[in-house]
């Protein structure tokens, strides 16, 4: 098995800060919204922790952004603009996850330094990193000081509209986090992808020619 270095250190640091941070945000967000249902901490503690970690995650986002903007690794996030190619690749990947994987078929996607995401991952992460996460940060900051940002909030339709957007994205991430962890266990071993996010190295199957390097 060859090893390729797919997750540079900044990416790994960013990832694990995000992982812990997102879990904390989801738990404190749940406590804030559902104070009658659970009692892990007081409302005020939940709000304070939520806000502090929120700002840490915003700073963390900029680690990710600056890394990718100023290195050639940004190519992993380049979208497939050819719709047919994109559809074919996505369909093939979906068929693998929905059927082929049960039969023991190999993964149609081959990880390489500049193509570490499969087609479905690529699309999801673009939407997540470039739309959902910024939106969540933006709505979160607006809610952090409603009075200060009242002009912008009013323009968007009011604090309820902003909060509804924030909650909808919270709902998405609450579901996504379970899917994300499970999909990470679908490597050639259960811990393969998780290890690679710790060490930076992904093991790839030799018989596929060591993966395509562009």
């Amino acid at each position: 098995m060859a090893r390729i270095y797919v997750h540079p250190l900044p990416v790994r640091i960013w990832h694990w800060i995000n992982a812990l941070g997102f879990v904390a945000m989801i738990v404190t967000g749940f406590q804030i919204r559902y104070i009658g249902l659970i009692d892990l901490m007081s409302f005020r503690t939940a709000v304070v922790v939520h806000e502090w970690i929120g700002f840490v995650l915003i700073a963390n986002f900029f680690i990710w952004l600056i890394f990718y903007l100023f290195t050639d690794k940004i190519r992993v996030y380049h979208p497939e603009l050819n719709p047919m190619k994109h559809f074919r690749a996505s369909f093939r990947q979906a068929m693998f996850y929905g059927y082929g994987i049960f039969k023991g078929d190999p993964n149609p996607h081959h990880v390489s330094v500049y193509e570490k995401f499969n087609s479905m991952q690529s699309m999801s992460y673009q939407v997540i990193m470039l739309l959902l996460v910024p939106l969540q940060f933006w709505t979160g900051v607006l809610l952090w000081d409603v009075k200060r940002f009242s002009g912008m909030i009013d323009m968007l339709g009011g604090v309820r509209v902003v909060d509804t957007a924030h909650v909808l994205i919270f709902i998405f991430f609450s579901g996504f986090i379970f899917m994300h962890i499970y999909l990470a266990t679908l490597g050639h071993t259960r811990m393969a992808h998780i290890k690679s996010m710790l060490t930076g190295y992904e093991d790839i199957e030799e018989e596929h020619g060591g993966g395509k390097q562009k």
Partner: protein, 440 residues
């Protein structure tokens, strides 16, 4: 004894005439030397006034008015001599009094209230600026609306005992408590009442306006409690937002029943929507939108808002929500800050009591709000995202549909991987079975 009755009447008539003549002679003499009268030193009354008081200090002196009221004609000379009008004397206000018409047996006074109202017009002639303030007040507005018992000058300022300082009596709450009794009772045991602060400290005196006028009382609180906002910011997240959306008594009158009032607000003009006098649209529209008469539900509120947004092209009517206490009495039961509500869960929880009571309001022509009931569901329904975009208390007024979506997302997020794992495991078993091979 028919003749004695007519005799009695004739006697009384003669007596009255005699008295009239006697009084007129006396008055003539008095007026003749009026120009030569001199004031004694030390605020004592002029000779002219003393002459008036010669009759008018008599206990029980009164006259019967047209409607049967008895108008007391007795004046306490000592009090008048201590009052700020002592140098003016009787003649300045009672200028209509003259030799020819005193006592005014021919003058018909309709009633004691009518007499007061008539005499009150004289105050304006010297006190024009204060009178102007009064005219802008809620008391004057009520009076103009037709309530002749709304306070006029002499209802608060005893006409013959006007003092330089305010007339407020800290022990009894007079004169305000004359009409606002229950409020004074509640106020007297509150932290401000015990500090013997007068009502006018917060409400103004001559320019007292409707208590719920936008921002006014809050500014009165902050006028003395200037560091209140800074103090709240130390521990209260979004303190400034709370100051906008929650009235001070809502937390500082902890035993009060709280509610939400949704005020019609014009985003373009940046002020509350007010109803013009004589054009009571709000209640009519609200009633017609409220099909079942049980208070506006979410759809009814939405259509009511649309009606307000239809008429003018340059307005944008929205709803601004405010958490308040239910009654004026509760608003006066302010306690020490240590007893104020600090527990976020009091409001930021599903089913919290402030959100069980909702009204929609518009500013009425006299400044007081005109309210119409709404159902609590207006705060939680999905339509609220459009009609109530500006009012939201995290957790407390959340949209239930989103809770279902969350449950779905979490169950799906856990269920899909579990299902997938199960299918993989089943396939492995099946593959083992048909091929008899060991799986790696």
């Amino acid at each position: 004894m028919a003749s004695s009755r007519s005799e009695g009447a004739a006697t009384r008539a003669r007596f009255r005439v005699d008295l009239t003549i006697a009084a007129r002679l006396a008055l003539a003499a008095v007026l003749a030397v009026a120009s030569l009268s001199a004031y004694a030193a030390g605020g004592a009354l002029s000779q002219l006034d003393q002459q008036c008081l010669g009759c008018h200090s008599a206990k029980g002196l009164e006259m019967k008015l047209v409607n049967g009221d008895k108008l007391s004609l007795q004046v306490d000379g000592t009090e008048f001599s201590k009052s700020v009008h002592n140098k003016l004397g009787c003649a300045v206000c009672h200028a209509n009094t003259s030799f020819e018409n005193h006592p005014p047996v021919k003058t018909k006074i309709a009633g004691s209230r009518e007499y007061s109202l008539e005499m009150n017009k004289i105050c304006e002639s010297c006190h024009a600026p204060i009178f102007k303030l009064y005219e802008g007040s809620i008391h004057a507005a009520l009076f103009r609306d037709g309530n002749t018992y709304a306070p006029v000058c002499t209802d608060c300022h005893s006409p013959h005992a006007v003092m330089a300082k305010a007339t407020y009596d800290t022990a009894s709450g007079a004169p305000c408590s004359k009409c606002h009794g229950p409020i004074f009772e509640a106020y007297a045991s509150s932290v401000h009442g015990k500090a013997t602060l007068a009502c006018s400290n917060c409400h103004g005196a001559h320019d007292v306006s409707a208590a719920t006028k936008e921002g006014q009382l809050k500014n009165a609180c902050l006028g003395c409690h200037q560091d209140a906002q800074a103090n709240h910011q130390k521990w209260l997240p979004n303190a400034k937002r709370h100051f906008d959306a929650v009235s001070c008594p809502a937390c500082h009158s902890p035993t009060a029943k709280r509610k939400v009032d949704l005020r019609l607000y014009d985003n373009v003009a940046q002020q509350s929507v007010a109803e013009k006098a004589g054009v009571p649209q709000f209640e009519r529209r609200a009633r017609s939108a409220d099909a079942k008469g049980a208070g506006l539900d979410a759809m009814a509120l939405y259509s009511l808002l649309r009606e307000f947004n239809r008429e003018g092209l340059d307005n944008k009517t929205t709803l601004r929500g405010r958490l308040e206490v239910s009654t004026g009495v509760e608003a006066h039961q302010l306690t020490r800050s240590t007893e104020a509500i600090r527990d976020c869960a009091k409001c930021h929880q599903q089913g919290a009591d402030p959100f069980q009571s909702v009204t929609i309001s518009i500013v009425g022509p006299d400044g007081r709000p005109v309210r119409y009931g709404a159902q609590p569901e207006v705060l939680n329904s999905i339509i609220s995202v459009d009609s109530l975009g500006g009012f939201y208390a995290i957790g407390g007024t959340r949209i239930k549909l989103l809770d279902w979506l969350l449950a779905l997302a979490v169950l799906g997020g856990i269920g899909a991987p579990l299902g997938h794992m199960t299918v993989r495991w089943l396939f492995k078993r099946y593959a083992k079975k048909i091929s008899g091979q060991e799986d790696s």
